[in-house]
Symmetry: C2
Subunit: 337 residues, 2 copies
């Protein structure tokens, strides 16, 4: 059993830094594309055997130090029956985005452990096969709420932010509903066998520090408290973690996953040493020639050398058109420290 | 003469905080739209009388404490004959984006003071009419270079970043060419009468801290040194200034204009007291009801109260669909401190 990742999460790793990559089971992999060619995306998410198979791909072919469950942050809105589907080239679409406070009140109250049982099944299939830890995940309430309001990806989340400012009360109601379901969902994942969880607030970067505290941090905290008794490490990620890191540290997650704007070595100086840091190579570096990938990766590893709470990752997810061989090269460089 | 703004830039303001707003002469103003209905955007930029008239609008109708020249950061690429035009609803389009290092070498060597003489004329028309200081401006070389490579607005600047990483040498050549022209351009603006300049790096937020140092900060520094003898205060703005502020402070600008992610009061603690801070209300607050605009504005003013080097502004430019009366309300709140 390779437990570098779990040791680093406890800030107790005395060996090389472990590596895994956000969106490591994704379209940049030829093996993924071969499966995806035969199945719509959501079918892959819903089918425990397919989800488990896809989860294993980067472990088998790249040799990363942790697996992350293949799924999507929008399975909770799907369970809330807002009409989720994926359009190739566009991404997620929600057919019935929330438009009024009454829409929030009218949301169904699903038994999330029943509705998302397929996720638990995938986890149970995976654990016996894995020799590295398995990470579960979910979307952060702010990001999930934003999707439910915008209905699709949005550059500036104008509709969400206007709602948030004009009617903060109903927005909080929505965030709280999502948070409660998310706690149930993470509990289910942990009971099924995940050994760590990561919460993704992909869209937090549109927020001011005050808005982040009120509408994002509050619910990160509620979730951390909700799953505390399960004793599984939790990693917080947001776009904007460079700016919001000191707020995130206040609520004492196991780790903070940092976007690529910040200097991780500088950040290590301000984040308490009992919180691990994860990140933060610019994913665009993976389009560059090998020498640059090697130089940037080595520089990051050198800067974090000897750091018992460091996990190598990107500052954001892998993109579909990143050359596969460059990702393989990256993993090899980190493993050969 | 209202010199609150210039005093604040020297960190010597003992009165209320001055206010001006990025993109204050813009489409959110009915008076602007009336002029714009009669003239294409670039004609307004090229015509000194129209540019001066538009520059005056927010001074006359809103009562801001500084005027900023009505122009565009892309006038330098235009002088480099890359085929600039503006499409309504899309924004700037460059017909012949740079594609190879040879394209950079083949760029013409315009006499920028001659090519952009219309800007100097607008400044000379404006100064006698103004009872507040006049700000000149330019794009930062990284942002201008990105437009010249992408050819239009881009979410992630993938093409630019790939060029930057695959062929940093030619990218530096481009940044240096733009920087030299920019120095000439700012000198011309200063000689014509602007009393401060602001350099806009609107797209710097896609960069990592190391990339920012190499490809953005280097050229900010070259420009500051190039205009130093003119003794006019310079303000640096970038998306990402929350993260890059300590790097910006190293090169000692007169002021740093901060995006809305950061807590300005926290930032004041780490930025030396001889550098003024400008910002940083979230522009989206201006879509909110009056009470929220008032609360957020008062909170920011209270936090920066007694600060001799503080200029009230937004964290980014005003957007076309922001209600005009909300901007008026904002200016009134700040002026009635």
């Amino acid at each position: 059993m390779n437990d570098l990742f779990l040791k680093a999460l406890r800030c107790e790793n005395r060996s090389r830094a472990p590596i895994w990559l956000m969106r490591q089971a994704g379209r940049y992999m030829p093996q993924y594309r071969a499966i995806r060619a035969k199945h719509p995306f959501l079918d892959m998410v819903h089918d425990p055997e397919l989800a488990a198979e896809v989860t294993m791909l980067p472990v088998k072919h790249l040799g990363v130090d942790a697996a992350i469950l293949f799924s999507d942050i929008l399975v909770i809105p799907e369970a809330l029956r807002v009409g989720l589907h994926f359009d190739d080239g566009i991404g997620p679409i929600i057919d019935r985005p929330l438009q009024t406070a009454a829409d929030i009140d009218a949301l169904p109250k699903p038994d999330i452990k029943e509705a998302l049982q397929y996720v638990a099944q995938a986890i149970r299939l995976l654990r016996p096969q894995l020799k590295v830890p398995l990470i579960g995940f979910c979307g952060a309430p702010f990001t999930v709420a934003s999707y439910m309001i915008e209905g699709k990806s949005s550059k500036d989340l104008r509709t969400t932010k206007q709602w948030m400012m004009k009617d903060p009360k109903s927005f909080h109601t929505l965030l709280e509903k999502i948070s409660r379901l998310t706690i149930d969902y993470l509990e289910m994942q942990i009971e099924a066998g995940v050994q760590a969880v990561q919460i993704f607030d992909s869209w937090a970067n549109v927020l001011s520090h005050g808005q982040f505290r009120e509408f994002s941090l509050t619910y990160f905290k509620m979730i951390l408290e909700g799953i505390k008794s399960k004793n599984v490490p939790a990693i917080l990620f947001c776009r904007g973690s460079s700016v919001f890191a000191s707020q995130l540290a206040e609520i004492q997650p196991s780790a903070i996953s940092v976007d690529w704007n910040a200097d991780l070595m500088q950040m290590r100086k301000v984040i308490p040493r009992n919180i691990a840091l994860q990140g933060n190579l610019d994913p665009d570096v993976l389009y560059a020639p090998y020498d640059l990938i090697k130089r940037e990766t080595k520089a990051l590893l050198k800067g974090m050398k000897g750091e018992p709470g460091y996990i190598f990752n990107l500052g954001h997810g892998l993109l579909p058109d990143i050359p596969y061989e460059n990702v393989q090269a990256l993993v090899d460089i980190v493993r050969q420290q």
